[in-house]
């Protein structure tokens, strides 16, 4: 092919002309590079390599936003972008080209490489050649190896078919266009910018060569180079690696991420939910996260958290101690099943051995798609017994949320009811599938390797595969649970065995639990904790996926079954009990009187509801903790205190022993400071610390890094303040803070004043307009149209009430027939959705449609 000269790109959005330069590489060609020089000697040099068929334009945001002390170089590989066209380059050539460039530019250490797509192997080849210069590696949706069983990415396969290759890649713009189409939604001018250097067939020659150079077969000339790279990265133990990954990439799917993690288990991972192939375009957090990650190389890595729970008995100790106890451990009121401690301990041991026999190994992740009950409980303790990690995605996430959650957690095995296995099948979970149900044709159809009973039987036959003396590692992962995702995709939260031990002790201390207690678990997640605490538990007859089906009668029967002293329930379940209180028989009513503590957890609880519960069981204390999936419980308050509470927001009480709480003040734009204070009456983001909080987020490095500021603490994303008595008040979500010209406004106090005055059950306070200059709108839930402007009288009343209570000036009052709430708790207001709808109405733009 004739040589085509390199040249400078035209004016393109986001690209600064002063970055562009041409570098002559004798005997190779001329490379176009973008370079953002450092002020003074570079503290770090970032070397960014694009894939096929993009160009250095991919990294414009990195050049724009990198700290001034960095030197940032983004290359156009030869034959690509605005570099010269010439002879076909194979992978080994490209690695050498990059070496020639860094030599020509006198790149010295320390260097961090950043790469995408087939730029990944090229950059890694360069790293292996320049190991002494490199301090960090960033990879985005790429691959170094074709994982076994993985099909070649569809687009590549299409492009590689002999007949189509020249046409798809060179003859037409299909491949170039196809790549930008692999992003979620790019502005037209950005799509055009990506395609700009590939307008003609000649310009696209290297696009074809690049695709042809992918070694799909072992005999391919580039196969040895790629294999050497794939092997080389397995020795990166002391080299920090960041994998920033688009979760929905049809080319480089999660399989390739799994392969890379297997090669570099120490890598930090952030899987950007919903982002596609061009992850840096699809998720605005990606480039800032990459920059922060590189900064952390200097500021110091996240310190390895101190071991927690080392001195505490393991999670299975409660069960072990009662191996010979014939008393009831679990009373499942739905199946009328009573399981003794002896039976539960034996069954757990059998399943544990059976799982090992089926190939489950310590550290493997097991998704439990089982409704709470004896099978679930035995499976959880069996998994912990053998050092496996329990993944719990509950139906409260909704089906879509469950799928996303499971895909992101990547379980290796599944134990599930038929619907659960069906889900596992569509998600292509790679390992074993165990059915909670009967063997037979249906089981085989679901792809089950065995039923749970068969697992237990095999465990009985092969008992002894799990040494009785096996000790669980307090630092090893034990549980992945999911946030409700009310404000975005659900995030996986990882607990270690030691942190779960600390959680168990925190509950024991906070609620003075002794051996003589018994638990009524109407809040599904807690049903599992009874055996760890060494106390019997009863599961009421109800649809556990819909807490509102709980009735006072089923609650009373469950309490009677174990002479319950503690009850854990969600606000929705509590509502079910209270609304059916009149149907209780008098024996049922008296059975309730063994209760001494009623704990309502999951979402804020109206005082009136607690009061009615308290009226049913006058001897019991009604309390409600504050916490979240990442850390629970943190504070506690009871009915007596709540009834007399007057203040801004919702009172959640004093920190429990062992919990620290501080406030990171808000600035005028509604952002919370890095540092926090314990001063009273300062409103800001609530940050917390407790031994039993989560260890980390699962494969969300960026989220993790922000949530961990200051180090060792957890940023909750809630806003609130401490009062003079050290009590915490919650004022809403950080993401929902309204930023007016007079300063930030937190929503909860405004909502409480508005709904009280309007006689509504629910209200939503939202900001309209640009951040920092927003107007406040309040929607109250009242019968009528889905959303409308409140009449002037109501508007004035609500405005006056809000002003009197909070000093906040409301611009507009709206009525909504139904304010949207979250799926899991049906009580957390989706203010983001309300804000969007309100903004549209109040703009008047809808009127001309």
């Amino acid at each position: 092919m004739a040589m085509t000269a390199a040249h400078l790109p035209p004016a393109l959005p986001g690209l600064r002309p002063e970055w562009s330069r041409l570098v002559d590489l004798p005997g190779r060609g001329t490379m176009h590079v973008l370079e953002r020089p450092a002020q003074g000697d570079p503290e770090i040099t970032v070397l960014a390599v694009h894939g096929n068929p993009t160009w250095s334009y991919l990294w414009r945001a990195l050049l724009e936003n990198a700290p001034a002390t960095w030197r940032v170089i983004a290359v156009d590989q030869l034959g690509m972008g605005y570099s010269s066209r010439g002879e076909t380059r194979r992978l080994a050539d490209r690695v050498d080209d990059l070496g020639a460039l860094t030599e020509a530019l006198s790149v010295g250490g320390p260097v961090v490489t950043v790469a995408h797509d087939w730029g990944g192997p090229v950059s890694l080849g360069w790293v292996l050649d320049h190991r002494e210069l490199v301090v960090g590696v960033v990879l985005t949706n790429t691959a170094v190896h074709q994982p076994e069983g993985a099909r070649t990415p569809g687009l590549i396969r299409l492009a590689r078919s002999r007949a189509l290759l020249p046409w798809v890649t060179r003859g037409s713009r299909a491949f170039v266009r196809g790549t930008t189409a692999l992003s979620r939604q790019l502005p037209r001018e950005v799509i055009d910018a990506y395609g700009a250097p590939y307008a003609t067939a000649e310009q696209r020659g290297a696009v074809m060569d690049f695709v042809a150079d992918i070694p799909l077969e072992a005999t391919h000339p580039s196969a040895p180079t790629l294999d050497a790279i794939a092997e080389g990265v397995t020795h990166f133990d002391d080299l920090p690696v960041f994998l920033a990954w688009g979760s929905d990439d049809p080319v480089f799917s999660d399989r390739y991420l799994r392969d890379l993690v297997a090669r570099m288990p120490h890598a930090d991972v952030h899987r950007y939910e919903g982002a596609r192939h061009l992850v840096t375009e699809d998720d605005a957090r990606c480039i800032p996260d990459i920059i922060t990650w590189i900064q952390r190389l200097r500021d110091g890595r996240r310190p390895v958290p101190a071991s927690i729970g080392v001195d505490l008995p393991d999670m299975n100790s409660g069960l072990r101690q009662r191996t010979h106890d014939t008393g009831v451990a679990i009373a499942d009121m739905r199946s009328e099943l009573r399981v003794s401690w002896e039976r539960l301990a034996t069954r757990t041991e059998e399943i544990a051995s059976g799982l090992v026999a089926w190939g489950v190994r310590p550290g493997d992740r097991i998704a439990l798609l089982v409704t709470p009950g004896p099978d679930l409980i035995a499976s959880v303790y069996a998994a912990w017994r053998i050092g496996a990690v329990v993944v719990v995605a509950d139906s409260g996430l909704g089906l879509r949320g469950m799928r996303r959650a499971l895909r992101s957690a990547e379980p290796t095995h599944v134990i599930g009811i038929p619907a659960g296995l069906g889900l596992a099948r569509t998600l292509e979970i790679p390992g074993r599938r165990f059915l909670v149900g009967r063997p037979g044709a249906a089981a085989r159809l679901l792809g089950a390797d065995a039923t749970l009973s068969e697992v237990a039987r095999r465990g009985r036959e092969e008992s002894g595969v799990v040494p009785t003396t096996a000790q669980s590692d307090p630092d090893a992962d034990a549980l992945v649970a999911f946030t409700s995702g009310a404000t975005g995709p659900a995030k996986g939260v990882v607990y270690t065995e030691g942190r779960l031990r600390a959680l168990r002790e925190a509950l024991r201390d906070a609620y003075s639990i002794t051996e003589s207690d018994a638990l009524v678990a109407a809040f599904a997640p807690w049903a599992v904790l009874g055996p760890a605490l060494g106390i019997p538990s009863a599961i009421p007859d109800m649809d556990l996926t819909d807490a509102s089906t709980l009735t006072s009668a089923s609650f009373a029967d469950a309490t009677a079954a174990v002479a319950g002293t503690l009850m854990w329930v969600s606000p929705t379940g509590l509502r079910g009990i209270v609304s059916t209180a009149d149907f209780l028989t008098s024996p049922q009513r008296s059975a309730l009187q063994t209760l001494r503590e009623i704990l309502v957890a999951g979402a804020p609880v109206p005082v009136e509801l607690l009061q009615r519960m308290s009226d049913m069981v006058p001897g019991a204390r009604c309390s409600t903790p504050y916490g979240m999936t990442e850390a629970l419980p943190l504070t506690e308050t009871d009915l007596g205190e709540l009834a007399s509470a007057e203040g801004s927001g919702v009172l959640v009480g004093r920190p429990l022993d062992g919990v620290s709480i501080a406030i990171a003040p808000l600035d005028s734009m509604g952002a919370s400071a890095d540092d926090a204070t314990e001063e009273a009456d300062v409103t800001g983001e609530i940050i917390v610390r407790a031994p039993w909080m989560r260890d980390r987020y699962d494969r969300r490095w960026g989220v993790q890094d922000r949530a961990d500021t200051p180090r060792g603490w957890h940023r909750t994303g809630d806003v609130g303040h401490l009062d003079r008595d050290g009590r915490l008040w919650v004022e809403g979500r950080l993401a929902h803070v309204v930023t007016t010209a007079d300063g930030p406004v937190t929503p909860v106090a405004v909502e409480l004043a508005a709904q009280r005055r309007a006689g509504a059950d629910l209200a939503a306070c939202v900001g309209i307009g640009p951040v920092g200059a927003q107007a406040v709108a309040v929607a109250v839930q009242l019968p009528g149209p889905s959303m409308a402007i409140a009449d002037v009288e109501l508007s004035m009343r609500v405005r006056d009430a809000v002003r009197a209570a909070t000093g906040v000036e409301v611009a507009a009052v709206l009525t909504m027939r139904e304010i949207p709430v979250d799926v899991r708790h049906r009580s957390k207001v989706n203010r983001t959705a309300v804000a969007e709808e309100a903004a549209a109405l109040l703009s008047g733009d809808g009127d001309d449609d």
Binding site: A788, I789, G844
Partner: protein
Amino acid sequence: MTDRVVVTGGAGVVGGAAARALAASGFDVVSVQRGPISDEMRTLGIQEYRADITGGAAGLVDALRGASAVVHAAARVDIIGPWEEFERINVHGTAAVVEAAQIAGIERLVMVSSPSVAHAGRSLVGAPAGTADPDAARGNYARSKAMAELVALEADSGDLAVIVLRPHLVWGPGDRQLTERIVERARAGRLVTIGSGAALIDTTYIDNAGDAIVAAVRRAQLPQVRGRSFVVSNGEPRTVVEMLTRIAWAGGADGPARSIPFPVAKAGGRVVEQWWERTGRAGEPPVTSFLAEQLATAHWFDQREVRTALQWHPRVSIEEGFGRLAAHLGGR
């Protein structure tokens, strides 16, 4: 000797508010206008100087001599009319005032303008002031004011500091432009909203506009202020329907009786505009497409910059404003 400030257009809403606020702040105020000033203004110690700004700079220099600042509020503010009229009064008139200010050695010129000079169509939600753009401005009034702003800001250099204030929808006792028209229509049962009336709009209580001009006179020479345009409002947006209702109530009448769909109003407005112009009718048509747009889409502005730059904050809240208007008009 007290500081002397000359106000053009003192007989108008904003000019009058500026003259009164300046006098109340201790300035020596001269009102340049075609007719005699009101007795009320006279009792406040405001002096009268009869002149027409369309008569050229020469006729104004004498009035300006000895003053340190000029507030230029004289303008034709109708929503309809022949372009030549707007050009003569708003563009050439401003040029004459600027020229006279230069000749007379004035230090500070505060020009009163309108947010419409920088914004065309579509909704404005917490919008910045923006730069005046005659090509994009909608209607003769906005276009002529945009040109006038450019003429005035062009003169900001050296000894003469120029600043532009754009008060948005000024209302209150004594305002005949907006307030009394709403009240009149409401009393006649002819007050309507266009569309749902849900669009948020920013308005300015009349006394606050006067105060902002006093602040501008005081601070016009500061480097962070001179040569700039600021939108001024109460910073308390309300829905159109609530504004109309509250003003009607203050006038002792009921709120809007019904609503006209926006597309109908807009199309109807266009027909009315053409018919009005063709038939050469005087006064103001019931609705124009520009007005339909103003009353149906959000128009409110980011007030942070102006408050910081002028060290000014609205003294009369919108609620208090309604109270004062009701006291003035005898409504609720």
